[in-house]
Symmetry: C2
Subunit: 241 residues, 2 copies
Amino acid sequence: MVGLKPLVFSLSRIENLMHQVSFDPRRMEGEIITNTSLVDLKMLDPTLRIFRDVIESGLAVSPYLKVETLGTKAKIMSACSITISGVLLKAGVPIRPRGGGVIEVIDREPVRFTDMLMYWATTIDPIDVLISQELTSVVEMMETGSGRILGNLQEAPMIAAERIEERLDLLAEAGFSGVLDLGDPNMNVLGVSVERDHVGLSLVGGTNIVAAAMSHGIRIETESISSLTKIQEMTHIEDLV
Amino acid sequence: MVGLKPLVFSLSRIENLMHQVSFDPRRMEGEIITNTSLVDLKMLDPTLRIFRDVIESGLAVSPYLKVETLGTKAKIMSACSITISGVLLKAGVPIRPRGGGVIEVIDREPVRFTDMLMYWATTIDPIDVLISQELTSVVEMMETGSGRILGNLQEAPMIAAERIEERLDLLAEAGFSGVLDLGDPNMNVLGVSVERDHVGLSLVGGTNIVAAAMSHGIRIETESISSLTKIQEMTHIEDLV
């Protein structure tokens, strides 16, 4: 019998990375969790312009990117929303990422999850799954105010709600936003129930920028929640386009 | 507030269909659960020839298909392995489909799951996810004896093991096979643990025929676990090719 490599579920990978987040939003120092994308070098400029539009629409986690050249490819690191979970964890909040999904937005108002995959029950990242199923309409949402975007759901004990709000404010000042919904205790978040005496927190997926680029016909390969990047090595989108 | 349509997880859809299985393997009567595939009518013959090769290799659930014409497309209904779960349920076995995954086969021996999605935690069918992630190598497995195929894992109380074996024998006589592993009580099945005092049952995915067609470059659209079809309306692959 060969030694069996056990299955690694998405939540394990996420927790490994959350543990390593050292980002301090006040000092703008330390490492954040990033998604890695590859595009042809000659498509870098149009890709970055689309990314900027999505970031300005509030459908991304942060305006900071790191761009490297890799042969004929450009490698782009962009903020993943699990960074926010990592910062909350480091503030002592027992935050639990539950799942990634597709969120229906009507007239700029996030309404409900239309699809969801739970992190602890899939070995393939939910966002990677949802992107390849082509279920989103990020560009349409930006143009008309209605469409389907990528997002996730997290959960924390309601006693931590104040600390969560405090950290989300700090993160927002540092340019890290993307909160779609912070529910009241025991209340559904975008149609999904939370555990008793818990609050749900829904965040935009950092990969909405990728979904938008894809729907503009750009060939882009992405691995979600794949790496850690020092914020000091990242550049504001306005200085890149 | 709009009325929220709740999320429908894959397991609910599966249980709805399992409840409706009326297949009697002794009489070859009643309805089985089928996957629905669409191909261009002019590609029907090569598709069926690939299906036949996969079925003969033992990597499909049954040799029976139903083919219909739909404009310029051929619609092919093929047996889904959840049919077997339905038959076990109707025999009073509390069988629980746990998840769909990718199974590594080495020298014709199924060794372990390399990826898995749990049915109760995803709204998108695991097999549809895994097919679009292009993680399988069904054709390679058929040619070399080693490769990655689609399969699933089910679980039942160990007290039902005898009844399960009895029904699996009946099903095999009726041409419904595809058991990769029936574990001993409390033992892992292909590297995945089962609940205490339960046995695990791993079945080949009915969509391996589709994965093989795709890797031969045939454009085929499939919806897994999507319909019920009367076995009397289905034809043995040998009478179709």
